[in-house]
Amino acid sequence: MAHESVYTPNSGIEKWLDERLPIIRLGVDFMAMPTPRNLNYWWTFGGILFFFLMVQIITGIILAMHYIPHESMAFDSVEHIVRDVNWGDMLQNMHSNGASFFFIAVYIHILRGMYYGSYKAPREMLWILGVIIYVLMMASGFLGYVLPWGQMSLWGATVITNLFSAIPFVGGAITELLWGGYAVGQPTLNRFFSLHYLMPLILFAFVGLHIWALHVVGSNNPDGIEIKLKEDSLPFHSYFSMKDAFAMVLFAMIYVYFVFFMPDYMGHPDNYVRANPMVTPPHIVPEWYFLPFYAILRAIPDKLFGVIFMFAAIAIVAFLPWLDTSRVRSMRYRPTAKLFFWGFVATGLLLGYLGAKPAEGGYVIASRILTAYWFLYFIVALPLLGWTQKTKTLPGSITEAVLGKDAMKNNK
């Protein structure tokens, strides 16, 4: 931990334990992390994401007790869970909608980091670990969507795994390895189930590293300046733990609304049709959270370059700490960059829309324009803005940002 320990063992047992395994010290210091007092509610999404990770793991373990990864039984076993297992329909809806809300929360979390410059030194490792977690989430989401073995499961898996065949020389071999044969089928389903169970464990380890890195460098904040004064920070517990808990419950209420009242809103009706390799659905659409990248893939006329651009669109985010040359972190003090940022958000949303549309005519043209914006934002706008922008004056400290300059003078 980056701060001094606040723990003093009181009883004999605590002292004994502290000399051998300082686990209580770890917990106490963890909860006492000095946290900038000016954090807004966008900072509560880290806790919300942890909540959803736990929801997914717990509901997933129970679903796996009833699920059968077999091409002729998978669909029925999911329906069996929904129809005949006690609380099964709730668990299944919690898991499938939990994935969607996991992604809603992670997109907010990522965009918050981008807006307030949370990736800038010394938080580069924290940021990169975050991007790795996001990629692992995408893998988990994709693998999980295949398991119910509906039409979109099968055909979504076919489209996505086929992407790897574009890789020169080894593409064919990789694709066959993923399939476990020459098409998506029983071996694919079986290994996807195994990997879907494995992914969250790896993800969990990376979340551990992410939180560790956070505790080393501390939280960024809306003003993007480091903690300088004693009054700048507050202990995480109970100030921020309770704020997080409140935000978590509010967000959970939206989640619950979907779980219980519109569980199928974010899914595709075709996934209630049993997987059939002989019938191709008219439009193959991935889950909504992949749509922007799906649009980028289809914007590029060449298969290999489409795949490269799609993966690059995600990978480039990891390089943000070095692409953004600005010395000021927060967009609060970067008026021009802020406009480009919102342009980027709009681009992401519109690409999502285009990803859901057939790849023809005007849709493709629009996808290309927006794909260009996506990349130009990272490789042209951010480096140039950093060098040329006029920034607003930063406050002297977090406390000054909160109380205002005059109040600071009066205090002294």
Binding site: R37, N38, L39, S72, D76, E79, V82, R83, D89, M90, N93, L234, S238, Y239, M242, K243, A245, F246, V249, L250, A252, M253, V256, Y257, V259, F260, F261, M262, P263, D264, Y265, P269, D270, Y272, V273, P282, K338, L339, W342, G343, A346, T347, L350, Y353, L354, A356, K357, P358, E360, G361, G362, Y363, I365, A366, I369, L370, V402, L403
Partner: protein
């Protein structure tokens, strides 16, 4: 602060609108399957929506009287008809029905493995409550052979599998699409399945109508249906006025039949809807109270700290 905010907001709105207009102009063409689709009002829509038990019973009568000739319902058992939140028939009623209809089932009724008697022969026995609803054909091939090559789909989850929502209505523009998506959340629209089935049942045309797509020609043995994707459907109009006599005395019209079978199929796809919505309401109340308490705690803790 406010001025800044407005400047920013207007910049953002202008940018988004620009992009949006650009894309919807470029995209005006394309899309639009021209499927007719009419939303109905259902007893099970909304937070407090519940199945109408009488309607489900009428729906079952339609299923039993008409659909069951061709369409299986493999995921449902006879016992489901007695469960709470469904048609809620008494067990004795279903048992008597199975007896009088002389329903026999092969053992087992899935196609994997066999159960044989002491002589090693396959055998059948009278259906019990725990048995799956008997399928009309022994297998898919037999079903296709009897239906001119078309496979009558299984009805277990069709109430959800045919759901229409905003992006399937063929809405071309970006803004109307976003509007429809948001509207569906606010109005809690989850009845796209029964709406589609109802529309399908009530939109058969004896001859190809004038508003059919240009160059449309009806293949031999198909029927024109304005709601069906592509309009040429293999199934002959299954419902008509008075095709089933309701035991509860409801007037037997095509419209009534269509509504009742749609509701019944929704129930078949989502048998725990009543319990789910009841449970969801309790959870929401619980969380609402918890959030108020947490807000109070949070405020108390932060009382003396400006932030």
């Amino acid at each position: 602060m406010t001025v800044k905010f407005f400047k920013l907001a207007s910049g953002f709105v202008a940018f988004t609108a620009g992009l949006g207009m650009l894309s919807s102009v470029v995209m005006a063409a394309g899309d639009g399957g021209g499927q007719h689709f009419a939303k109905q009002s259902w007893s099970f829509g909304g937070v407090f929506g519940r199945y109408d038990q009488k309607q489900l019973r009428r729906g079952f009568e339609v299923y039993k009287g008409v659909c069951t000739g061709c369409h299986s319902m493999n995921l449902l058992s006879y016992r489901n008809l007695t469960q709470p939140g469904g048609p809620e028939y008494g067990e004795d009623y279903i048992k008597a029905m199975l007896k009088s209809d002389e329903v026999e089932v092969n053992l087992p009724h899935n196609d994997e493995g066999e159960i044989v008697n002491e002589d090693g022969d396959l055998f059948t026995r009278p259906a019990a409550l725990s048995d799956r609803i008997k399928k009309p054909y022994a297998n898919d091939k037999a079903a296709m052979a009897a239906n001119g090559g078309a496979l009558p789909p299984d009805f277990s989850v069709i109430g959800k599998a045919r759901a229409m929502h905003a992006n399937h209505e063929g809405i071309p523009g970006l803004f109307t699409w976003v509007f429809a998506l948001v509207k569906d959340v606010v109005t809690q629209y989850q009845e796209g399945g029964p709406d589609y089935i109802y529309t399908l049942m009530t939109n058969y045309h004896e001859t190809v109508p004038e508003n059919a797509p240009k160059d449309f020609s009806l293949p031999e043995g198909k029927h024109y249906n304005a709601a069906f994707p592509g309009h040429a459907i293999s199934m002959a109009p299954p419902l008509s006025d008075g095709i089933v006599d309701y035991t509860d005395g409801t007037k037997a019209t095509l419209d009534q039949h269509a509504k009742d079978i749609s509701a019944f199929l929704m129930w078949a796809a989502e048998p725990h809807l009543n319990a789910r919505k009841r449970r969801g309401f309790m959870v929401l109340i619980y969380l609402a109270i918890l959030s108020l308490l947490l807000y109070g705690v949070k405020r108390k803790i932060w009382e003396d700290v400006k932030h």
